[in-house]
């Protein structure tokens, strides 16, 4: 006799009505104006300028001397200096020149505008979807048609697109100004969910009308915290979810469409870069499976006087364990912290091994090119490099250091090690056929219920 409880149901019912001090229209981008009606949320929102470090997250404020080209007086710590092997991994790509720990939402527009990466390669307007308040810009540029405006801005040069945008993420990017309901405003995500659902046999999925309320509490974040690529010469921003959300699905898609990001400077391998697949990774974890959303941890409810609000100071939950974790987990704060860090340390340790294995492979390829090697072996090794790197990067670029899906993250790193080392072995004379290049067919175990969120299929598993 199972007691079936819907843990999605938060105690939302007893929410406070609010006073409209000013009338907000769909034209109002400026959060300060929204803040007149919702001063508590606005106050917290402004706090995303804070910089505090955790063991693997948060960020550290590093002072720098502002220049005309880059007026920022403070940036966050350089990840390349923390681990120089990243420069070998990304040799020949803009990331090997400037890559920093990400910080609060307040900085998103500036950090994109002034990153050194802008100088090294010409970036497209597509970049801006995730770094500024672009919803109204897309509508204007598309003459009322969101997708049209999106396509148009995507193919602009970055500098041109940048001029159209004034604010980092603003209230209207997540909220309907009339009803304050959550909404998805990013065409990249709307299209991404459509192809993902199609792969599960659901056609014409429309996230804004078909998602549940609890799903929306993650989907507003999944708008940006995802892996992406720029498709074709007109740089259309695309989420590679056509076969599913697992790393194997995504790699298989890229290999099918023949996409690679750049040519590795030291080995000439055509390779891929992964970026912040938080949404995809979270989707493989037990929290997603239990219906726990991004907002539950990163925007937990907080009490302000007699009111309960969603904490709009979006940040590391490890800086806010009582609100972020203890509503669900009845363990002391320091114990919850130790649990998270323990997961992260195991991931970090494997990441280290995977990084060494990849550097070994890159060195082996370089040596082999000098010393001579047959074409079969070389081309096999280059494919292994691409895969090893993409798998490693999928965890490296994910920002929770494995927390969002502990077993899955370490599994991916284990595969990465296997790819790197097989590449070396093949180069050193092992028969390629003993190291088959087929990807594992890891099918996500379908959730047997409504608990699953975005990624799951719907069939039942066999009883034992």
């Amino acid at each position: 006799t199972a007691l079936l409880v819907n843990i999605f149901e938060h105690k939302q019912e007893a929410r406070n009505p609010f006073f409209r001090v000013v009338e907000i229209t769909s034209e109002d981008v400026d959060p300060a104006k929204w803040g007149k009606n919702f001063p508590l949320q606005y106050d917290q929102y402004k706090k995303t300028v804070d910089q505090v470090r955790t063991r693997f997250g948060g960020s550290e404020a590093m002072p720098r001397t502002p220049t005309d080209a880059d007026p920022r007086g403070i940036v966050s710590q350089s990840r390349l200096e923390e681990d120089p092997r990243l420069k070998i991994m990304w040799a020949g790509y803009a990331f090997s020149k400037d890559f920093r720990e990400e910080r609060g939402h307040a900085y998103m527009l500036d950090d994109q505008t002034f990153t050194e990466r802008q100088k090294i390669a010409k970036q497209p307007g597509a970049c801006i979807q995730c770094h500024g308040s672009v919803y109204n810009v897309y509508l204007e540029q598309g003459g009322g048609d969101l997708q049209k405006g999106f396509q148009k801005v995507n193919s602009m040069p970055y500098a041109e697109a940048r001029k159209l945008v004034e604010h980092p993420i603003a209230c209207l990017d997540c909220h309907d100004p009339e009803t304050m309901a959550l909404r998805v405003t990013r065409p990249g995500f709307i299209n991404g969910m459509k192809v993902l659902k199609e792969s599960q046999g659901i056609s014409n999925y429309d996230v804004n009308t078909q998602a549940t309320h609890q799903e929306m509490r993650s989907f507003v974040c999944g708008q940006c915290h995802v892996e992406y690529y720029f498709k074709g010469p007109d740089k259309q921003l695309t989420y590679p979810w056509h076969k599913g959300l697992k790393v194997e699905n995504i790699l298989a898609y890229y290999e099918e469409v023949g996409f690679t990001d750049w040519t590795h400077a030291e080995t000439s391998a055509p390779v891929l870069k992964a970026q912040h697949p938080e949404f995809e990774t979270w989707n493989q974890g037990i929290h997603a499976r239990s219906g726990v959303s991004c907002a539950d941890c990163h925007m937990p409810y907080m009490r302000v006087g007699a009111q309960k609000i969603s904490d709009h100071h979006v940040r590391s939950p490890l800086l806010n364990i009582n609100n972020a974790c203890q509503t669900c987990h009845k363990f002391p704060e320091e114990e919850m912290l130790a649990r998270a860090v323990s997961i992260q340390e195991k991931t970090f340790n494997m990441r280290d091994k995977a990084m060494n294995a990849l550097v070994d492979l890159i060195n082996d390829i370089k040596t082999a090119r000098v010393e001579g090697v047959n074409d079969d072996q070389l081309s096999g090794a280059l494919v292994f490099q691409k895969r090893a790197q993409f798998f490693l990067d999928f965890v490296e670029a994910e920002n929770s250091m494995g927390f969002h899906a502990p077993q899955e993250s370490v599994r991916i790193l284990g595969e990465s090690i296997n790819f790197s080392r097989q590449g070396s072995r093949v180069l050193r004379g092992a028969d390629v056929t003993t190291s088959p290049l087929t990807l594992s067919n890891i099918v996500p175990t379908p959730a047997a219920s409504k608990w699953v969120v975005a990624g799951g299929a719907t069939e039942k598993v066999d009883t034992p």
Binding site: L3, K11, R303, A306, T327, C328, K330
Partner: protein, 160 residues
């Protein structure tokens, strides 16, 4: 046995009413103003609604309504001992402590049950369910989390 207990609760409430003045008097010495200001008198009744006089208790009231016990146990059935002295002593201690916390606003959120009150609650489980747990519980100390009932039956009082 269940019925018997419920009768006991009602009777206790009546006696409680008589003793209300006495308890309030006792508390006036320690924290009178706070107590009254913060509706501390709520502690003296058996009505769950009166616990929710403090808005910080609202969530627990809502969660109790969803819990499996709302029809069989009120707040005090689980949060005060099932003997006369223990019951009123606990009410007084908690009333004082919570009123003070409520007034100053200084308390951990989410609210966490204290070790002492957890032990009180654990004993009430065993009181009502003595028969069924006879076999499994005869070695348990019944204190702390060690062999606690709520380790497995967490949602009994308050469904998430």
């Amino acid at each position: 046995m269940r019925l018997g207990h419920l009768q006991f609760s009602t009777r206790a409430a009546v006696i409680g009413g008589v003793l209300l003045g006495l308890s309030a008097g006792l508390l006036a010495g320690v924290g009178g103003f706070t107590f009254i200001y913060a509706k501390g008198f709520s502690y003296m009744t058996n009505d769950p609604m009166s616990c929710a006089n403090c808005h910080v208790m609202q969530g627990h009231l809502d969660a109790w309504r969803k819990g499996s016990h709302h029809a069989v146990a009120t707040c005090n059935d689980c949060h005060t001992p099932h003997d006369f002295v223990g019951k009123w002593l606990t009410k007084s201690l908690n009333g004082y402590h919570h009123s003070l916390a409520f007034t100053t606003g200084k308390f951990h959120e989410p609210i966490q049950i204290t070790a002492r009150n957890e032990s009180v609650t654990e004993q009430t489980c065993r009181h009502c369910h003595a028969d069924i747990v006879n076999q499994i519980d005869f070695h348990a100390s019944g204190t702390g989390r060690d062999m606690s009932c709520i380790r497995c039956h967490a949602g009994v009082g308050h469904m998430e």
